[in-house]
């Protein structure tokens, strides 16, 4: 059994982690922290956890007191808070899965530009592994610090990865339209996210300077072998969970949908959490699972590649992916705790 601590366990990603890890056969949840709920029992704060055998109590996020009890930590903290916490835990010899943005961007200058804050732990960036198992599984095996990807980037990067190395894609023409359920914005009460404002609503936001853009471009560039920029337009969907991403790019050679699809099937033949489809997937398929569903087709009339991909933003887009990384890191079957085994 691995003793696990969850820092910031009362937010949406924290709760999702708990729902996975409390049933994980190789995990003992040894500490959960929350500044807001310190001293209260998990099942009182979140009655959905009423059935848990072990009585858990939220502690204040004090690393000294919990570091001994845990082998590994999942950090569900706001960006910039995470970098300090991770450094302390790494110093103590712990393995860290960070769900914030703090260690995702290799170039600290890019981080500082898009997030508008100074990176105080630049020295850790080199050893941090971008926790996208379908691309970086080998590195995750030996990582001490895993930067779990953002929700939008997971859907976008895995959506286009199979063809980014191909010459028939015009890399300057990539457009990514994504929609996300509102849990991606977190639990803090904000007027815009009230049901009375959102029901029946829909809108674009954040473009063209949404913070997930450089994360997508970093991984895209690694796959294309050249600096690749994208137009990324996120939209708010009036529902709680889920991300749906529609990607287009111009084709510079004639390609059929069948040829494209074969590339996708081949690329993901060994992936246990990706399903490739020849028709558009539906977001609801992904809700509650760690699976990414992706379709790819050629619009031969306009020489355009059309890709759609969908995930649960809180699972494959955050907590499930973190556990997938954890499983790989600790040598467990990748699927333990993540659905039908």
């Amino acid at each position: 059994m691995i003793n696990v601590g969850i820092i910031g366990a009362a937010g949406y990603t924290g709760q999702t982690l708990l729902s996975i890890l409390l049933s994980h056969k190789h995990v003992n949840v040894a500490a959960i922290t929350s500044a807001t709920f310190e001293g209260q029992s998990l099942s009182n704060v979140f009655p959905v956890f009423a059935g848990t055998k072990k009585p858990l109590v939220f502690e204040k996020p004090d690393y000294d007191s919990i570091v001994k009890r845990c082998d590994t930590f999942f950090l569900c903290l706001p960006h910039r808070e995470s970098m300090e916490a991770a450094a302390k835990l790494l110093d103590a010899g712990k393995v860290v899965f960070d769900l914030s943005a703090d260690f995702r961007l290799k170039d600290h200058a890019v981080y500082e530009k898009w997030y508008g804050v100074t990176h105080t732990k630049k020295d850790l960036l080199a050893s941090a592994v971008y926790g996208l198992p379908e691309l970086h599984g080998d590195k995750i095996k030996n990582a001490s610090l895993v930067a779990v990807p953002g929700c939008y980037p997971t859907s976008a990067i895995l959506g286009l990865a199979p063809v980014l190395g191909e010459s028939f894609i015009d890399k300057s023409s990539i457009v990514i339209n994504s929609v996300s359920g509102v849990s991606g914005a977190g639990k803090k009460a904000m007027g815009d996210f009230m049901l009375a404002e959102l029901e029946g609503n829909f809108y674009a936001y954040g473009a063209p300077s949404h913070r997930h853009t450089p994360e997508i471009e970093q991984e895209f560039s690694a796959l294309t072998g050249e600096k690749t920029m994208v137009t990324f337009i996120p939209h708010l969907l009036p529902t709680t969970r889920g991300i749906y991403t529609t990607i287009t790019a111009k084709l510079t050679e004639d390609k059929t949908s069948g040829e494209i699809l074969n590339l996708y099937k081949s690329f993901y033949s060994g992936s246990r959490f990706v399903s490739v489809h020849d028709t558009f997937p539906r977001m609801k398929w992904a809700i509650g699972s760690n699976r990414l569903y992706v379709s790819a087709m050629a619009d031969e009339r306009t020489s355009t590649l059309i890709v759609t991909s969908t995930i649960d933003n809180l699972v494959k887009g955050a907590s499930g992916q973190a556990v997938q990384c954890f499983n790989i890191r600790y040598g467990f079957d990748e699927k333990v705790g993540l659905g039908y085994e």
Copy 2:
């Protein structure tokens, strides 16, 4: 043209009033106030009003500056703020339609008990008219101060009014289960009303001490001629607008659904905003309109009266009813501005 001021025009009832009054052929909206949006134009703050001919700007709620421009005022203020504002405007000779709870309860002691605050304008209570036109139309004609009823009470009182004077109803057995869309809770950002918390959710709240209870009991008692108490259980519905109320009471004599229904049809034969049905109405029928839909039937097997009624909480449950009162007060056709004429 009547010059109208709307105090607190940026909340949900204020916006709904605007959507009605801006198309009302006898009304000139002469002033709108909002502490939050002072100095900003209506169409900038609420782009839904982009099509209005007249450019309106939110003013700060300063009565001295606006009292001359307006003949009548609609107060969309929190309880306790309303009583002071109303007093000032009445002193200046204006007609006041108050959408708060401050003047609904005739007995200031009842108000103070259920609302937990002192009533500073008790002297106005005697002349205030409870603005339920189907019951108090004659008094509204001559009122200077109209206390527009709460949303739940409108559905409950009109739901049972036709039989409350009948001896075959056991008045000690009345149970009122209501559900309400979340706009009833106002615009203030609160965690419980975020879409991510409410989607797919439903729950009772406030019972048995919800503040609308004494308002229902006051009107019920007037209709029965005896002190009548009710069990009132409100529930939160994961949608924006609408109230649906299900009322049960024991029958002390054998009555058929047909007999009950005839009482309802007779009672509401002259009402232009009430539709009586022999089957359960649907909440969506009422959304956007000033109409109350009501059904009544006898469950002969258990000797129980079952009544359901439904309204739009922001229209017949607040702003529409206020305009209906306004129309009556000023001698206009009751339906002006309130739908198909």
Copy 3:
């Protein structure tokens, strides 16, 4: 491993059973049937099951061909179809968990009156066990035929069971208001259940002759020791899953909320799937789990008991409860496959 067959596996209860049983450590799903999807693979029809290790294919519901492969069967069939299927499977020595209404009512005349069809397997009614583990756990241990309760009855019966034997409840005054998500109506396309009709809608239906009424009265009468009738009013909630039930009854003696609550806590002290609360539970707590959340309080002002209870209609109200019965019948821990163990 118990070899399990699911008859009618493509409906909502069938899918929910699959989602539970495919992860159940003592179960091998040996056969799934569907007339509509015969010959198609499970993961093609329902991509949510893409991750299952074992490739399952829908078969036509032909008992001869599947009876040998399975030890036990879950029947997710329309009422009247179930009685014939159950009889065949019982003849073949199988254990049957029937999710239809066919064996819930002990008196075939009551069944025939409320369902309007002839009961062709009356002889099986005596041995059928009503599958509510919190009340009939001992009988379930030895049953060959378990009639899994309806969704509304589960919430109503467990909601009032702790006090139905008490003399301070006026048994003639019980009123049950329930709301249900639309999955309770099944998957068949019907105009009333289209999103465009239901979004923002809410309404009562079926009362006072909804078919779940006699099921509630049968169990209530067993608990009170006298013929007990109820006014049961179901409502349609514009969401997919969940039931919320609000029960009122007159108190014939003075009781405090604390006294009532103690009765509930005592009654459910040994129940692993019931949580007792002193405030109103929220429906979302129950979604996805096999847990019932219940609150009870006295409205001393009107001498009324107010109880609310909530479940997931597809889990504790159907498939989860069926698996709970299965676990009890086969001597497994009651919670296997049903959440945090």
Copy 4:
């Protein structure tokens, strides 16, 4: 008063037309037809119309019997049914506003290719006017047959019209991602559109061969002066009403957001139903109104134009636009019946 007939008045566009025309001061609704509801009163079938003064009864769609009573007709019929009906009514000298696709495409071969049916009234195509008032107002004034645009095309065409004649847009790079509420799919019961399937769902469909594509391309080509093709990807939004369209195109010259925005403001300076914004509009602004909200900006980093536009699919995307055309055709103020005047 113009006497108006609505053919197919029981569908969503028919109901929306009724809600507008019953309050239109220059209109007398003289006939409404529905094969399904023949002989039933409007307020019985749709209780939302309970308040209408005039008792309307659905008739069967028999042109001989109603042609004398009406001056003009709105056709809310499936494609191919409309062409025959329009021909008959034009022969009888009536003015026809057709809400189907039958007369939108100037080239019958394009119609026949994308719709898969023969056009039997090709001779009418030349005189039919595409009913987009912001582009073709002058022609609408004198039209006998107005082909009211589709919902997606309205948002896409008006979204890009201000810059389609500009040389700095790469016309081969236009990508249109749209989302639509489900009312666009009509009232017919279909499994995919049940609330239990759609709640929390989202997906692309129809691309790259959705039937609204050639309609967009026809109008785009007219504006660019060259054959212009687009990649059009519609998505289903889990709500009832509204369309939101996000358009991207590569910029071939450096342009600032300010320059782009000025082109939009200038283009729509005389339009009474278009609001131009410098930030992303929200779909809910448009719901219930005949207004289109549009934003335009340059992503200078990637040299990409980003445009978003939003409408109510049933109003500006169908019935409201039809009434706007009607107002223009009959010389009324364009806004009569369509909101704050």
